[in-house]
């Protein structure tokens, strides 16, 4: 009757062995490991969609925000699947007669009807948190200030560098690998020696080294006149935010000067700059002159790499054309690069007043460039445009003051 091994004997052992819940189950989770890989893949995917994240303009409004939250769909592992049926049929159970109309279809979430292969689409959304610094790191892998050159003068600085090992030092600089090596060496010679003694310990040492510094000052000039809508201003500020964050990461001794202008111009602190709003007409020369003024006062182009980035919608007062041209020319001559970001959220096809100024300078061989931002997705492209063109403008040999 029972072809199985007789009695309960064969079961005895496995049951006994299974009595204790195996502890290792708690230690290692395949699910979590593969979940981590899934998250990693999402991060990779998000990197590819950086523009959309970068345009999340609320990042810049909050000074303390060090992370960005991005809602993402779970990644789907694709399989062949039929097109969605607009009127799917199914089988149900309960008190219903043919012809009955049941309430609006809310998906029957009974545990019963689930496919073993997990064919239904999980529609959970995740909220991923990204460190602003990480995003900057992704963006900035290849971004550089154009035409940056070492400048002599007060441009050398001493810095602490790691160099060599010693038997004494701060605990935080203990080099465990080296200490272990010493211990192994010692124990190879003596028998029955203690595993670690003080003489084994090795500490990393620091020393001061002088390094040539790359001194640089970057001017952000923002047009906040009435013609710039809130959205325009937000785009410009987003651009400036990422440029500032990225430059800070790349260059330690970097000065960033924030200037806003309407018919007049003012210098701002960083946090105020990102909140600034204005009204009134547009006189670009006012802003440009302010930049020149600050430059002469604090940043001598001879010892300092100077950069200008100007964001505007391109409308400049007609009678300001000549003053603006003159002011811009003098800046372009001194600066290593001048960039113009045109915010064109409205429809415009013709060349704007300000764009023409920059283009003319470019034709005459100054290191200038421009780029336009139409919507938030363009921000990252604009950042890339300006900070990857080093070789390009070096090729034109247009950098002012660059000796062959």
């Amino acid at each position: 009757m029972n072809p199985d091994p007789p009695g309960n004997e064969p079961y005895g052992t496995p049951y006994a062995a299974a009595q204790a819940v195996n502890d290792w189950y708690e230690l290692f989770s395949r699910g979590s490991r593969d979940w981590l890989r899934h998250s990693e893949k999402i991060r990779e995917a998000v990197r590819d969609h950086l523009p959309q994240i970068v345009s999340g303009s609320d990042i810049i409004s909050d000074d303390g925000a060090r992370t960005v939250r991005v809602p993402v769909r779970m990644l789907e592992h694709y399989r062949f699947r039929l097109r969605t049926d607009s009127e799917p049929q199914g089988v149900g159970q309960g008190a219903a007669k043919p012809g009955d109309l049941l309430g609006p279809a809310n998906a029957g979430s009974k545990p019963g009807g689930k496919g073993a292969g997990g064919t239904e689409r999980g529609s959970a959304e995740l909220l991923l948190e990204f460190k602003v610094n990480d995003i900057i790191e992704w963006m900035w892998d290849e971004l550089k200030l154009p035409n940056l050159q070492p400048r002599v003068g007060q441009s050398e600085e001493a810095d602490w560098k790691r160099e060599g090992w010693d038997r004494r030092g701060a605990r935080s600089r203990l080099d465990r690998r080296r200490s272990l090596k010493e211990s192994v060496k010692r124990r190879a010679l003596e028998s029955s020696a203690p595993s670690f003694i003080d003489e084994d310990l090795r500490f990393r040492q620091l020393t001061r080294r002088r390094q040539p510094a790359l001194r640089a000052a970057v001017f952000f000039l923002l047009d906040v006149s009435a013609s710039m809508t809130d959205a325009d201003r937000q785009l410009a500020k987003t651009f400036f935010f990422w440029v500032a964050a990225g430059l800070r990461r790349e260059y330690r001794s970097l000065d960033i000067v924030f200037v806003a202008h309407t018919t007049d111009a003012w210098e701002f602190g960083e946090s105020d700059f990102f909140k600034v709003a204005g009204s009134g007409g547009t006189v670009a020369s006012a802003g440009l002159r302010k930049v020149t003024e600050i430059m002469q006062e604090r940043f001598d182009p001879a010892t300092c790499n100077v950069y200008l980035f100007y964001a505007s919608d391109g409308d400049n007062a007609m009678d300001d054309r000549e003053p603006a041209r003159a002011a811009l020319e003098s800046i372009a001559k001194a600066a290593r690069y001048s960039g113009y970001v045109e915010i064109t959220s409205g429809l415009r096809s013709t060349q704007s007043e300000t764009a023409r100024l920059f283009d003319e300078l470019g034709v005459h061989g100054s290191a200038v460039g421009r780029c336009s931002i139409k919507d938030p997705n363009d921000v990252i492209a604009a950042v890339r445009h300006f900070f990857t063109l080093e070789s390009q403008s070096a090729a034109t040999g247009a950098a002012p003051g660059s000796e062959p």
């Binding site: 890989r37 799917p88 089988v91 309960g94 043919p98 109309l101 073993a116």
Partner: protein, 456 residues
């Protein structure tokens, strides 16, 4: 300490044997809930790593967390079989689970589909799957994580495409067309042969190279592993490992209703007859039973899905009531869900259970359709063919190596989601190393081709 449920096991087993159940030994193991979730998501306690399992794992954890469903046990057929029970189960839960597991173990030992699959895949699927996983870990060390992951992307996305009828171990196709059948040797032929004539040059039978594949091939995993010309051997092995696991999964999938129903029938019956179980334990266990097999959630009147536990349980009760246990045992041996439902879900039984077909109307209410037992059965079964996946097979390999897949929209009545299909083709093209094309139909029933070429 509470009385341990294991103390009831020997007597439950005796009772089951008296009823004629027979099973291979089962090893019970209590594991934490998170591990139960993993088993459910991976389908096997140790399985190859892949990020899609991770996504499903988190999704399931969330579902569990929100109290949607709970797993009491998972059984793996084999010799010995293995049953994992949640360590959070109470005493009554586990008594029920033990009886339930005996039902499953009896089913998988006696059902022919299970027996055939275990003959082919082995009775030790858990160990095999673990060794696949270990091999894949070694592949990762040898070839890098990304390379292995891309092969798994392809293999697992085609997981459902096996041909159960051709079996696990298959010979490659014959290279040439079979020779024409010998001419029959009747009186006319033999006289004809004696006639004079310059028939010395009998028609030289030239061998004709067979097309590839000679017939539409359903087993995509096998076909790609065998005929992808530039695939590395470790990549083929991954495809074949995924394929072997699918062969193991097939009977589990294709007998779900019968199997769960049978196990539920036996846990209910064994518990009812087990006089050695304390009354309160019995009541708790039977309450748990009725939660499992109830057709409609407690607070609702109507469900838009069929609970396979309920359907199977009800049918087995009726079958055993009318035909006796021996008739039921024959059905256990010989049927799968398709024949089970077609033979035994009669109009009366369907009406008694209140089964109905419905159609969700676009942005509107759900309409209950006319009663028709044949259509009702087919509606229940329609998602069970081929693991519920659309039917796709290899149509041809073109002379430039392009793999042509064809979706049988005539059977599925609808085309494939082409965006999705494109992604699958991208996975496949990576291992096929040459262009891959898929034919399906669009919303207007016109043939469309989706194609992709492997990235350089």
């Amino acid at each position: 300490m509470k009385p341990d449920w294991r103390s009831h096991l020997p007597r439950l087993e005796d009772l089951a044997r008296e009823h004629g159940l027979s099973w291979s030994p089962v090893i019970f193991e209590a594991v934490p809930d998170s591990f139960m979730t993993e088993i459910a998501v991976y389908g096997l306690p140790v399985r190859m790593p892949h990020w899609s399992f991770g996504a499903r794992y988190i999704y399931q954890l969330l579902q569990r967390h929100m109290g949607y469903s709970r797993l009491f046990e998972v059984v793996f057929p084999g010799n010995p079989g293995r049953a994992y029970v949640a360590s959070s189960n109470g005493l009554a839960d586990n008594v029920l689970v033990a009886a339930h597991v005996l039902g499953h173990a009896d089913f998988s030992k006696n059902n022919l589909l299970f027996r055939r699959s275990q003959e082919q895949v082995s009775e030790h699927i858990i160990e095999h799957a673990a060794s696949h996983a270990r091999q894949i870990e070694r592949d990762i060390e040898a070839h890098g994580f990304n390379a292995v992951e891309r092969v798994l992307d392809a293999a697992l996305s085609l997981e459902q495409y096996i041909d159960i009828d051709c079996g696990l171990r298959r010979e490659p196709y014959p290279e040439y067309e079979p020779p024409p059948p010998p001419v029959s040797d009747d009186a006319f032929r033999s006289r004809f042969a004696t006639l004079d004539g310059d028939d010395k040059a009998a028609p030289q039978s030239r061998r004709i190279r067979a097309p590839l594949p000679p017939h539409p091939e359903k087993d995509l995993l096998w076909f790609i592993a065998m005929y992808a010309s530039d695939m590395e051997s470790w990549e083929r092995d991954i495809f074949l490992a995924v394929r072997a696991e699918s062969f193991y999964f097939y009977p589990v999938y294709a007998t779900q209703t019968m199997n769960e129903g049978w196990a539920s029938y036996w846990h209910a019956r064994l518990l009812r007859e087990a006089d050695f179980i304390a009354q309160d334990t019995y009541l708790d266990a039977i309450k748990c039973h009725s939660d499992v097999v109830r057709p409609v959630a407690a607070e609702e009147q109507i469900a838009l899905a069929v609970n396979p536990y309920h359907l199977g349980f009800t049918l087995w009760e009726e079958i055993i009531k009318e035909g006796g246990i021996d008739a039921a045992r024959q059905i256990v041996r010989e049927d799968d869900d398709f024949s089970f439902l077609r033979n035994h879900l009669t109009r009366e039984r369907a009406a008694e259970m209140g089964l109905f077909r419905y159609q969700k109307q676009a942005n509107g209410p759900v309409k209950v359709l006319s009663e028709d037992i044949d259509e009702l059965r087919e509606a229940i079964l329609k998602d069970k063919y081929n693991f519920g996946a659309p039917r796709v097979s290899v149509a041809e390999v073109r002379s430039n190596g392009t793999l042509v897949l064809e979706h049988h929209s005539d059977i599925d009545k609808r085309g494939l989601d082409t965006d999705c299909a494109k992604k699958v083709l991208e996975y496949v093209a990576h291992v096929w190393r040459r262009p891959v094309v898929l034919k399906t139909i669009d919303a207007a029933s016109k043939t469309v081709e989706v194609s992709t070429t492997p990235a350089a």
